[in-house]
């Protein structure tokens, strides 16, 4: 026993100090309400469980794997497609005997002369809803080169065209073929119809 516990005055004082203060009921209610609001409510009564990080990591790896596989398939398809296009291209360089495709290759003057050249076609038409250009250069496919309308009724499109003489026309509203008023016209020898003529050459 300590000296303080032996002294009756000090013992009474210590006993008084050891007593807990009375709990404030209002304060307790505020704490309980605040804790309930902060808690995440379980869905359909299921208990809340913290998922281990390992599961999330597995999902990330799966996503990364799928992405890598997709990239591989994409590049493979692209390579196959490119090789097909090269075969069809008249000016493509032949593949070396070893089968390896050169990354860079020399472009000779004749090849450059044969490369497609961007050309802009313009037509003024304020009443049309849709205009596209059709011609030898796009297999007369109306979906190939739709023209864009400016605010003042000028329709235009710029497309690459291989050097040479080409016949073409404008398709207005998917039905009417009209000639280019700014270009010379010629008669198609086989179909007996008129078309506009353009000669394209590299500057």
């Amino acid at each position: 026993m300590t000296d303080a516990e032996r002294d009756p005055v000090l013992r009474r004082a210590l006993d008084e100090l050891r007593k807990l203060p009375a709990a404030d009921a209002a304060a307790m209610r505020r704490v309980v309400v605040a804790a309930a609001a902060a808690r995440v409510a379980p869905i359909d009564g299921e208990p809340i469980m913290l998922r281990p990080r390992r599961g999330r990591s597995i999902r990330m790896w799966m996503v990364a794997g799928i992405a890598a596989a997709s990239a591989f398939v994409g590049f493979s398809l692209r390579a196959a497609w490119t090789s097909r296009v090269d075969v069809a291209q008249p000016l493509a360089s032949p593949t070396p005997a070893g089968g390896a495709r050169p990354i860079l290759r020399a472009v000779s003057a004749p090849e450059l002369e044969g490369a497609a050249i961007p050309h802009q076609f313009v037509l003024e038409n304020t009443g049309a809803h849709r205009i596209s250009i059709v011609g030898d250069f796009n297999r007369w496919n109306p979906a190939s080169a739709p023209m864009r309308r400016s605010s003042d009724g000028l329709w235009s499109v710029t497309i690459p065209i291989v050097p040479g003489r080409h016949m073409y026309a404008f398709m207005v509203d998917d039905s009417l073929l009209t000639l280019d008023p700014t270009a010379p016209k010629a008669r198609d020898p086989d179909l007996g119809t008129d078309g506009s003529i353009i000669i394209v050459g590299r500057p």
């Binding site: 008249p90 002369e113 059709v134 030898d136 109306p142 003489r165 010379p184 010629a186 050459g201």
Partner: protein
């Protein structure tokens, strides 16, 4: 025929003959026509000819609502001209050259001999643009022989493709404005040859631009 069916037609004709037949039927040209068109395209491909001009002609025919029979005849005509052009532009024409040759042969008056003349003048370079100018001059009623002389003369003088194209466009513009074709040709050729070198190994007479030999040009000393 809708745009979609037209495009289906062209895509599948260009893809495979067998597949093309079905697609052509779907496109509404009839089974018999489809078979014949597919055969034409397939034969051209088998013999190493470019098939784009044939497919373009078929597509154009459908777009212009030509009769199936006319489309077949047109496609066959293109195939025949492609063969002729390849022979005329031998020994190693590019597909672009063959296509340009076919286009030129389609203009009434342009002959195989004219193509050979252009090729022999420019044996190692693409001739799509010179043949395009030749075709356009003849289509504009310049006699084929004279048009051939003009084009080969300009090639010998080293005219660039851009200069050939510009000549054709300027003459066309002049004619659209009402200028006589021959007069326009004379003036434009005079302007062009003034900036070009005389033809290699040419005599004084040969150095005169071909277009001025109509008699309307300046007198030679």
């Amino acid at each position: 025929m809708t745009r979609r069916s037209l495009w289906l037609l062209c895509v599948f004709v260009g893809a495979h003959a067998a597949g093309a037949q079905d697609s052509l039927v779907l496109a509404g040209v009839g089974r018999e026509t489809a078979v014949r068109l597919a055969e034409i395209v397939d034969a051209a491909r088998s013999s190493g000819l470019p098939t784009d001009p044939i497919i373009s002609k078929i597509s154009q025919g459908v777009l212009r609502h030509a009769s199936p029979e006319r489309i077949v005849v047109a496609a066959q005509s293109v195939a025949t001209r492609l063969e002729e052009a390849r022979a005329a532009l031998a020994p190693a024409p590019t597909p672009a050259d063959i296509t340009a040759g076919e286009n030129a042969l389609g203009v009434s008056g342009v002959t195989r001999a004219a193509l050979q003349a252009v090729r022999s003048t420019s044996p190692n370079r693409p001739v799509a643009v010179p043949l395009g100018l030749l075709a356009q001059l003849v289509a504009s009623n310049v006699p084929a022989k004279r048009a051939t002389e003009i084009v080969t003369d300009l090639i010998r003088r080293g005219a660039s493709n851009a200069q050939l194209v510009a000549l054709g466009n300027e003459v066309n513009s002049d004619v659209e404005r009402g200028v006589r074709l021959i007069a326009s040709l004379d003036v434009r050729l005079q302007g062009l040859t003034a900036v070009l070198a005389p033809p290699a190994g040419g005599s004084a007479a040969a150095s005169a631009p071909v277009g001025l030999q109509s008699g309307s040009g300046p007198k030679k000393p």
